[in-house]
């Protein structure tokens, strides 16, 4: 056994990886609809459940989802938070995110909540309590990505 007589060394390295994720048929229909400012959910007629994000199969009945449902443009916050710390490679704070159950759909979809004054975090948090109603706002030129829309409080 050797005893340490020197400062332990550190070896630097880096790894850069790129990906191309296949979106699949279900996802392709969903993202295409976003370009038309529509949010489409899949629905399983066996269980009656509708899903956002859209799923090819119902996770309750394990049957294929056989219908598409257009989600409402308003919804209810199920949970939310305001991020105030700067995480590497994530958006600069502060920002709010929420899971919102859009009208007509059983499951909740996450997105940013914008248009809220976040300078007093506890006060802002009170305005994002579960049950709060929000509306969907699309960007002018949707690109077929989940960030094409965000939520805003209904005043």
């Amino acid at each position: 056994m050797t005893t340490a007589t020197q400062e332990p060394m550190i070896l630097p390295a880096e790894w850069r990886v790129r990906y191309n994720y296949p979106v699949g048929e279900t996802g392709t229909r969903f993202f295409s609809a976003l370009r038309e400012k529509k949010i489409l959910a899949t629905r399983c007629s066996a269980s009656g459940l509708s899903y956002l994000p859209p799923r090819a199969y119902c996770e309750r009945s394990f049957q294929p989802c056989d219908e598409w449902v257009e989600a409402g443009t308003t919804g209810t916050i199920e949970c939310a938070t305001i991020v105030t710390a700067a995480f590497e490679n994530l958006p600069p704070p502060p920002y709010a995110i929420a899971y919102v159950r859009l009208d007509g759909v059983d499951t909740a979809l996450i997105n940013f909540v914008q248009g809220l004054d976040l300078s007093d975090v506890p006060a802002a948090a009170r305005r994002l309590q579960p049950g709060t109603r929000v509306k969907v706002v699309f960007r002018d030129q949707p690109e077929g990505r989940i960030t094409d829309f965000h939520y805003e409080l209904i005043d």
């Binding site: 390295a13 990886v17 990906y19 191309n20 296949p22």
Partner: protein
Amino acid sequence: MLGALRVATGRYHLGLVVSWNHTSQIDVQDVMRMRAEPFALRPVGMNGAIADALFAGEVQRRCGVDEDAVAARIVQRQQVAQRNPRGLRRAPQSAEAIRASGYDAYPLRRAHQAPASDGCVAFVLASGAWLRAHPQHRALARIAAVTSHIDSYRLDAGRVGAMAGFDAGLEDLLRRAGRDHAAIDVFEAEAPTGWHEAAIEHHLAGRDVRALSPSGGAWAQHPLFCMGLVNAAEAALQVAGRAGDVQVEDVHFAVAHGSHGYAQQGHTFVAFERVAA
């Protein structure tokens, strides 16, 4: 293996074992490169293909196999693979085309390596007690034994190509199955290159193996990290008499092999027995 052990505890009666491989456009070898420890291996650029090349060199030396033999073996396996209804049914290459492909790292040529494919495989496992309680369900095959063995991480000549884990693991498996010297009707081997298959056949020489990889192995399909389970599916189908165009006659006992790590550091085995009608 873990699925079988769990059912064997008596606590679980129905299990689902699933594996899938869906490589996007990522460079597989760059991912394999990250498996190299950062101090001595990664600086020389070790990755899966290069480790396989070291393996191939050792197979050449230890088993007396040369490139011509490897090319001929691949052609034959591809012909078998083309008949597998579960495979990609690619047309076989010629031995000339294989020999003409460039070296990735000597002596491993590009065409020595079965190309990766996307795929998935799943098993439903059931305990004997569950089957007896549900006689309308029938077993395809009985799992007689499972085991695994891992070798040293090192890539020196003493380890690479020696396949000590393969030999010890197979011996362990057969002992657990109570079939130390029995004939193996089908052996579905994980052999990502023709060199691997040559080595495995060499290490099976002392045993009575009737058919080696009748599925066509990785040349039929090669979802990279599911091969062990794909081989298990092929072996189970053989025992059940449901392997279709690649069915071997009268299969009672089949072994499936899976491997992992640089130059097959680890080996996992499952033994299947025919179930009485």
